[in-house]
Amino acid sequence: MKHNEKEMKFLRDEINEMWRLVISQIEKTKQALLTNDVELALEIVSLEKKVDAYELRLDSNCEHYIALYNPVAIDLRLVLSIMKISITLERIADYAAGVARYVLETECQPFTDKMKEILKLEKMFDILLSMMTASLVSFNSENAKNASRILAKDKGIDDIYSSSIDLLSEQIGKDHNDARCGLEMMMVIRKLERIGDHCSNIVEEIVFYIEAKVLKHKGKREV
């Protein structure tokens, strides 16, 4: 392996580690929220610093790669996409930690089984996790063929999100005393919806890296 290839492999390995860490943060967040596990929520919040450190390191390592090796063509697209993906992973981890903080700090009753059911919380997490995992596979195998399928999953998240708005506003309408808790729940769901959007951005970066196509701001239907 040539020297610059070694350096590139190092960047790939690092983004892989960060990606897996963020996936495990989402898995833990799902567990913590659904079982109201305070211990686990604490762990998530403390691991957030580790994610931040990955982002800083990747940022500077990518800068060095560009400065020293002047990458072009697919090499350039790879480094640029790694930089953007690491920023996005950090945001995703931020939202996960935000949900964990809700578990730690809220004064509301935990989500009842019935609420979890009608808000489709578990389903939402499962879609997010499958998006995150499928995009990592796509990145590693340099294959953007399933990009449109991953992007389509985000539609599922958006649907759950908008029906949650209906359900919760109805709930708040019925029981004014509980309005604050209803809003807090809404904010949790909003965070999950944002994770879905960021995951779509990652898929767009992968398509740019592999096929040099720009999907951004084009409307996901066209893909």
């Binding site: 610059n4 063509a73 350039l76 697209r77 040099a212």
Partner: protein, 248 residues
């Protein structure tokens, strides 16, 4: 501005260029890149008929400049070379003063008006971004200048006779980074008035100075596209392997 159609070129039995069809626009910088020996210089030298000077060579196909086939019998070669300036890898000033190097082409063309020549020399040295550095040394020998200054002097010499095309064969490869940057800056400036074709083995240089890039290999034009596209998303796998250094 320059159009070639199905160019084949031979040194004796050896075919150095294979079926090259290409068109270069006015007021743009076109760069030729590719491994050494792939035929870049040979192709460049076709445009001012410099290959004619080499024995045993043979050309097939057409080379049109401003719509005229420059290999047509009716072409006046001196007029052609006046219209198409050339700058080489190693600066090759004449063993004369800085002033006389630039004035040379004017004198050869029969201009005698001293005031006109002096003005033209100054104007051209300014166009070559050299005037400020040499204005106190105009009558010193050109060899007293640094390598980078000598190269800009050679560019000035080429510009003095008001060509429309400037051919450059690795003009900065013998220069340090600062002189190289000055030449590259100059190329950006000059393309407003001239059509520039530059051969370089330095890909980053092609990326920095050119609007379009042609990638050659073993006498063939593999890919020709906008420089931005070439360095972000080349069409051909071979191009990608070459520019990312994956060869060998």
């Amino acid at each position: 501005m320059i159009v070639t159609k199905n160019i084949n070129f031979y040194y004796g039995d050896f075919q150095a260029l294979k079926n090259i069809t290409m068109s270069m626009d006015a007021n743009t910088v076109t760069a030729f890149i590719g491994p050494s020996g792939c035929g870049k210089s040979t192709f460049l030298r076709l445009f001012n008929r410099m290959n004619d000077l080499i024995d045993g060579t043979r050309l097939e196909g057409e080379c049109l400049i401003k719509g005229k086939n420059i290999y047509d019998k009716s072409i006046n070669i001196d007029a052609l070379r006046k219209d198409i300036g050339m700058v080489f890898q190693k600066p090759n000033p004449f063993p004369k003063s800085v002033f006389e190097n630039v004035a040379y082409g004017l004198r050869v063309n029969g201009i005698k008006d001293k005031k006109f020549i002096a003005d033209k020399v100054e104007e051209t040295l300014k166009a070559a971004a050299l005037f400020e550095e040499v204005k106190d040394k105009l009558h010193k020998s050109a060899f007293e200048l640094s390598g980078g200054q000598q190269q800009r002097l050679c560019i000035a010499r080429a510009l003095a006779v008001e060509p429309s095309i400037l051919l450059m064969d690795e003009p900065a490869s013998a220069l340090d980074p600062i002189s190289t940057a000055k030449i590259e800056e100059l190329i950006h400036e000059l393309k407003k008035k001239y059509t520039i074709v530059i051969v370089t083995h330095n890909m980053q240089q092609a990326a920095r100075v050119s609007d379009k890039t042609g990638f050659f290999m073993l006498g063939e034009l593999i890919e020709y596209s906008d420089t931005k596209k070439m360095f972000l998303n080349p069409d051909k796998e071979t191009t990608q392997n070459y520019i990312t250094g994956r060869f060998g």
